[in-house]
Symmetry: D3
Subunit: 136 residues, 6 copies
């Protein structure tokens, strides 16, 4: 049988701030620069889920892309779109919403709901020029 | 002599909220939907300045693009990048930071510093799918 | 008051064939080349509506972009997405579905439902390298 | 010696329909939704071939990109561009033209003509938001 | 009858240098900066031709896009692709190959061969962030 | 602990020529075609550095993206932007500046300055349709 990776891209727009509450204001500014602005800033995030599995010979599908898109909307877009990641999202109450950490959170949310027979990987674009992948 | 339009694109990332303080919370939510989130959300804005004028026969330039880029950085990017438009920008203290109004503000900021012999127009992308032009 | 143009982009995927039933097969092939394939071919169309009007001082909006997006979905996307333009769309029963004609049809569909105080213009991408605008 | 991967992107426009002839019309519609439209729909496909091998010290090339482009045109673009994948392509007479299966077919066509010393991988975009990779 | 604008995009890769031979080396460097490098630098240029005219009711076309593409290849791409604009192109022997001037040259080359009933306009991208339009 | 890959994209514009000095002019033209133009041609190169490592729990960062961007500017952009790779860059005095070799050179320049605990990989776009990755 044939293993194929399928990819689905969705997007959300959110505000955030990078900040470590255990550090002084000065250290936060040194480390995070303008990303530490106490009044927040924001991004148009693009999230791609890569899902790898066997091609079903009845459908020619690895996974129903509408189902994957709906799952991304339910678990990721509805949760983060037009939100403040630090204030509105339970997941970042005690976790700095760096692109790295947002990708890990998205992975964990999807991993719980996608069967183990499928490998998944998250690519998250904060801007066209800054992006991350998890797991490696 | 030949008139040509030249374009320069820059970007900035900002948080904002759409809100009319003269309206009830309910009306604000009806009109602005999720863009009214009191905790803000954000975007990667792309701004394009179109500048129209005569080609200088000594340089082949309508306008030095480095100078235009520097002017956009001084007047627009430094002012709005990694900022909260409602809280950090004087220009939106009493003006709703809709994409339309942000484009008008950017036009006015640049118009004061670019000589009258040049026509200018602003295109502002809030997302890849929503954008505006001013003046028409 | 300030006039601004706002733009909204949506997409649809459709099959079509270029063909003039009053011409011989040979002439159709000469004129339309591989676009005349009797078994159809298809495209991912991107459609941008440009809408020009006054900025409402209460909202900072020219037009509610969600309303524009919903109108595009109701009138354009639901009608053409995952359809065969020649066979499934009443509008092309007697009209060759060239990019030019599709743009004119989309303009007419939207013009009936958008108030006269707003000017509108359609940009339609058949591919990244071939696109049209109507009206000029 | 140094191993490098080189990539070449080409595109084709095609019509298709997702359908399992062993299933009822109702089941086909449940599984494939609007992709099951009996009158076909279509896409602008983007295909990327990744080819991995040693850098030739005389040329600095892993593989002549013009040769790779010509091979893609001969084996993939000429076969599928402006075609109906279900009706015009021998490869999909008994195989559902899902993005997964199209990628596998493209891989097999190229694998026969590219020497074994080169690994190859296919990325196929059906839309900007849906794409696949084979092999994994 | 209906007037529509059609657009075709092509690209070419070229080397160039901005330089005014009537100026000192110092003045050239002050005005053109790193674009004055005597050993040249280069770009991937994207050129879009906008052509406006009546839709032919027999074809649904304003202009045969294959004919427009062929004309662009004959007059523009074959002339400039993989060339040094200053050294290899007659048109820039005495004309600084600024983006503005390249666009004017391309316009003039096409204007001679496209019938007067069609208006044409050139958009030329030197980079994704720097581009020009002629005529205005 | 969590391993994540982070990516940063930068660009530079350069002239180059593909040429093997040990070959005849005729053989160079046969192998390299128009890329062998003795007067050079050029490209807008896009370079992406992928850096893989552990997420620091204090910052949520694998690596400070500003530091990575600065390093790319210091080592790559300042060295190659608006330059002739064959004439101005020490690295290509005896090495053909194919996309493959440029990527290897960039990798080696960055590898010396990025700590061994981080894996790095370079993706280099010569055009939107031709690109390479190193190491594989």
């Amino acid at each position: 049988m044939s293993r194929v990776s399928v990819f689905r891209k969705e997007h959300f727009n959110a505000a955030h701030r990078l900040h470590n509450p255990e550090w002084s204001g000065q250290k936060n500014e040194e480390v995070f620069g303008k990303c530490n602005n106490p009044n927040w800033h924001g991004h148009n995030y693009e999230v791609i889920v890569k899902l790898t599995g066997e091609v079903d010979t009845n459908t020619g599908y690895v996974y129903d892309m509408k189902k994957l898109s709906d799952l991304m909307k339910e678990l990721v877009i509805n949760r983060f779109d037009h939100k403040n990641l630090n204030l509105d999202a339970e997941e970042f109450k005690d976790l700095n919403p760096s692109t790295e950490n947002i990708a890990i959170v998205i992975y964990n949310l999807l991993r719980e709901r996608i069967e183990d027979e499928y490998e998944i990987k998250i690519t998250l674009y904060e801007t066209e020029r800054n992006f991350v992948e998890y797991p490696v």
